[in-house]
Symmetry: C2
Subunit: 339 residues, 2 copies
Amino acid sequence: MSTAFDAAEFRKALGAFATGVTIITTKAADGSLIGLTANSFNSVSLNPPLVLWSLAETAASLPVFRAAEHWAVHVLASDQEELSGRFARRGIDKFAGLDIETGVGGVPLLKGCTARFECKNAFQYEGGDHIIFVGQVLNFSRSESAPLVFHGGKYAHATRREAPDAKPRSAALSGSFNEGFLGYLLGRSHFQFFGQIRAQLADQSLSDDDFYLLSTLTLRPLISTSELDAGLAAVLRQPSASRLPALAERGLVAQLAMTAESDVAEYRLTEAGRDTALRLISAAKAVELEILERMGAEDGAILKSLLKRFLGVVDPDASVLWDDPTQVAGKIPGSGWDS
Amino acid sequence: MSTAFDAAEFRKALGAFATGVTIITTKAADGSLIGLTANSFNSVSLNPPLVLWSLAETAASLPVFRAAEHWAVHVLASDQEELSGRFARRGIDKFAGLDIETGVGGVPLLKGCTARFECKNAFQYEGGDHIIFVGQVLNFSRSESAPLVFHGGKYAHATRREAPDAKPRSAALSGSFNEGFLGYLLGRSHFQFFGQIRAQLADQSLSDDDFYLLSTLTLRPLISTSELDAGLAAVLRQPSASRLPALAERGLVAQLAMTAESDVAEYRLTEAGRDTALRLISAAKAVELEILERMGAEDGAILKSLLKRFLGVVDPDASVLWDDPTQVAGKIPGSGWDS
């Protein structure tokens, strides 16, 4: 814990308190529309219904809000990060191109927020270099969308925690490979998901390895067996050269004629192979879409983002077949999947 | 979006704004220690450094805070949910057993928070059924721990978002199996992780299937081949009966003599098999610990929790070998992994 008292450190300490992100809007006396991004919002009172937020004394819009009879607070949804950035900028027409509604007192209202409060300016209090605005809520609305979160100076996702009394599904066995273990959960998740498309693979007498080979071959027109083996090192049970001839015999892949200059076996998908691969991939995507719908898009997005972070950590330098070669060359070492 | 104005709905709308969780403490004139959980905290001013929070007019501790010269705000860390619950309760000795420091004005200070602000009572403002307390920060400290978050009436995790300008590692190929795809990320994460213990399996001439069989056999003293096949349905490449005899020959498992009453083949681990399984599992756990350390414990915990949610959705009724049979019997249908 640091205890020195300087402005940058103080800011960081304040940033340790997570908040949502809001956009506050009003209409100036001259009719112009005003809006700004703020995370100093909070609820104050239920009866009467009051909320507050603070604005810097130096803000260009301060006189407008001081004089305003009404203003509105928009609690931003997870997909409104761009809007947050737009209203945090200066010297641009923030409302340009936005689909605006008009609220009490002509205040511009934004759409797609997770909550919205139309307020009457109730109190303005001194707060050091800021003014604290307290508003009485006249109207409000709410949607179920996931919130945009701000923490430590960065945007964040929020996802609900398990209930603290949630019982583990099995007694934790010391030393065992169970659900407290990330490797177990990853394996089980992968196998459960992949299990859902196995029936379709079996229908076409294709193995797991066949699926990985065919789907990887969709990524580049021509790939050598050594590239396949490197890119799918942890994935394939057998070297690609042991499966590709069988796939070639079935007309799904074709081997490029080896030349005198090169003894590397290179393969491409045939028309039929491409069809098969894309049909399997879209079957897998359909399964995924259904799962994401039941799981919630936001949690799905967070899961994806954390898996990328996991991959960046577990094997940042993994040979990745589908990298654009120019990107690989310019890649910052160790920057992983998040860069 | 609902627009009816009733108290419960208004509360819900306010809850759409995510917040951190704080505990505010002070010392009463009679020397007793006071503390309560609040999420109405926010920053106000940098110069002078001011923060605020609100307290209900009806709160028993209101007179104490009104009279207090000093109070402290503790921004709670992700692992302090229990502390949050304790300070939200009434009629208990909230400080019992806690390791307390003493701050300015004798105010009790809690440990392990992600930030802490010692304040001088600066202003008290009217806020409907609440009083807004504005404090001048005299001392503060901060740690890097992940925050406890509150959203929609529930505790939440926060995890940073990818930078909006983060370039995908590969061009998104329409129809391809790439990193925009959860199934791909799960597969790759599993294989990258599992790849790290393959060398040790190979050292002992064990296949992936052998590992899954041996580790599953650690969970119960005796398991039949049909139970193994059902529990590892999506996992095993071959039926368990095709691998177990080889493992028995190597002395890692032993088959229970079949009786006249039952023709089910049941297997158990031998001493040597148990040793082998536990050694492999602890190697896997060591790999995992190292990854979690680099990834951050909080993100690791969120990843685990989302994978459980994923599993609950993808296959809530999956036969799970390691369930306690009594729990299975009493399981609420469809409640999945989160219950």
